[in-house]
Symmetry: C2
Subunit: 317 residues, 2 copies
DNA sequence: AATGTAGCAATCATTTTGATTCTTTCTTCA
DNA sequence: TGAAGAAAGAATCAAAATGATTGCTACATT
């Protein structure tokens, strides 16, 4: 898959690998790179820039060629990436810039835009939560709930999760004596609470968090072009668990997170796939697995058929 | 805001800044860091590790303290970050690891989980699109559309965008002679097409892309706790454009992207905010601005009142 | 044809990093 | 209780990486 065995690259120092990776990335996703651009990004001198390209050329001579007309290196047709850039990471780099986003100002590609971020949690809230989790501490905070307004609570957080729309913190709420999700932006006045943590408040005791479900997503039976949906979600035809060859995408996910995913992807979770195929491209074939989710009210089409009362159930949208 | 002026840090080399930033980040978001952890992350030796902590201590003596009991540095109460970690970047780092994700394997925090990624575009598709855009080239591809199945097209792409759920590529479609969005995962057999590009096919000619709208998002009038919504979306009370003091969040966004955002955030776009407040926390106050969007059918509650026919409009969901 | 730019290569100076040794502080365990 | 061990700091010298400089080449611009 890669032009050189990974062990070869391990011989080089972190900083050297980083510069090689930068060349590699630019060639693969931009098609060309000039020595001056490498130098500018890392703040290095010309001698270093030349050496870096020389080294890259030794490692992957087929990957690039210098065009003297404009003095830029161009990717060749035989390009084999030296580093594995998975597409999620690549998109993040294109949209937000190369590097860690801290060390130096990130230069963005200009043609790649991520989702506008309407509700990043405040820095201090995030930092305090993150430290509390790392150090096994409780936090005291004011939480503005949609249903009951603001109130003070003590929470033992154990995870920070993105539900597709918002960042939540999950933890044990001492006010309600159960594990819950809290929307990070609804937290104010947070601080570390130096009290003893009981075993029942730890992540290990959060059964819905620790239980893994496997969701079986299939193209919505009401849809005209199931193949397009199957391609979209990279579904597998090798469905060994049944006699059919219906394409299916199995997704392993924590029970506590399953319903957020189903809602984010507009998955019809009714037993008889009765929701409109136009809006719902997917159907949850094994909808009975949601019995294990206390927030199943979030799953489209699931709660209504059981006559649940959404308004009385506490879930963090 | 920061303990030292940024100019001070500019004196240090990229690699040195990176190690300082790592210490800074770990203190802020984990609360502690050991010398060995720094060494392991960057693959450096003990002497270097000691020097890095010595330097960090010189730059920000109040930020950390060594506890001899367990030989770890701990963040103090007077901590002032040396580097600006915005919360979006911090969350990305916590969920996916420190660094660029390429140079060395990323060590993830273990307690922060991003949205499960169901449909990352294939690497080659993304790389080809990205290069074509960078170099101003057209691409020839097979596109599997939901309505008409697969067909070959030539496209002049100019941007890659995340609509909240999927990654799209936007560009001029020669088959339909207009700018359109294409879902990346529905693309197969892509390759560079070496044909001339006309001015009308360039990004500059994409009026919907280049036109900026300002969306005025307000808490849904039917909601019981508008203050909670206002906090959630960090709304501003200083609404100088009207006599009221109703909190509002103004979002500047390209016309071509506006409706995706409105759908992603479940914004009621009807003129009389008639959609249920339980599902729709926000209302688009200046809904008339959507007249400028050809894909307004995506905006919840907007198209229906104009008796549009969603099924006949080509938009990439 | 002259000039400028940005690439390569080689050399030597400078800076950064590694290896080694010795010390300190606190934990662990016999 | 006291000795061993682990992981930090500090200092020194060696090794490696980087910077500065010079001379060269290919091409674009004028």
């Amino acid at each position: 898959m890669f032009a050189e065995p990974a062990t070869k690259l391990d011989n080089y120092a972190y900083a050297q690998r980083e510069r090689l990776a930068y060349i590699d990335f630019r060639l693969q996703y931009q098609g060309s790179i000039a020595r001056g651009e490498l130098m500018e990004h890392f703040g290095t001198a010309v001698a270093s820039g030349t050496r870096d390209f020389t080294l890259y050329r030794e490692l992957a001579p087929e990957n690039l060629v210098l065009r003297h007309e404009n003095k830029r290196y161009y990717r060749t047709g035989h390009f084999k990436p030296l580093f594995p850039h998975d597409s999620q990471t690549a998109l993040n780099t294109l949209a937000h810039g190369f590097g860690d986003g801290v060390t130096s100002p990130r230069e963005v590609s200009g043609f790649c835009e991520d989702t506008p971020d309407l509700i990043a949690p405040p820095r201090d809230t995030l930092a305090t939560l993150s430290r509390a989790i790392s150090q096994g501490q409780a936090v005291k905070l004011i939480y503005i709930s949609l249903s009951s307004g603001g109130s003070q609570r003590v929470i033992v957080p154990h995870s920070i999760v993105n539900n597709g729309q918002r960042w939540h913190v999950r933890g044990y709420c001492r006010k309600h004596s159960q594990f819950r999700d809290f929307v990070c932006t609804r937290i104010t006045d947070i601080r570390i609470d130096h009290t003893e943590i009981a075993p029942a408040e730890l992540q290990a005791a959060d059964t819905e968090w620790n239980q893994q479900l496997t969701l079986e997503l299939v193209p919505h039976p009401g849809h005209d072009h199931p193949k397009a949906i199957a391609l979209d979600f990279n579904m597998d035809r090798a469905d060994t668990s049944s006699q059919t060859t219906q394409p299916v995408r199995r997704v392993a996910i924590r029970a506590a997170r399953a319903c957020y995913l189903l809602r984010h992807w507009n998955v019809d979770c009714s037993s008889d796939h009765r929701l409109p195929a136009y809006e719902y491209h997917l159907w949850l074939r094994n909808h009975e697995t949601l019995k294990q989710c206390s927030n199943a009210v979030l799953a489209p089409g699931y709660a209504t058929e059981r006559r649940g009362s959404p308004m009385n159930t506490k879930v963090s949208r």
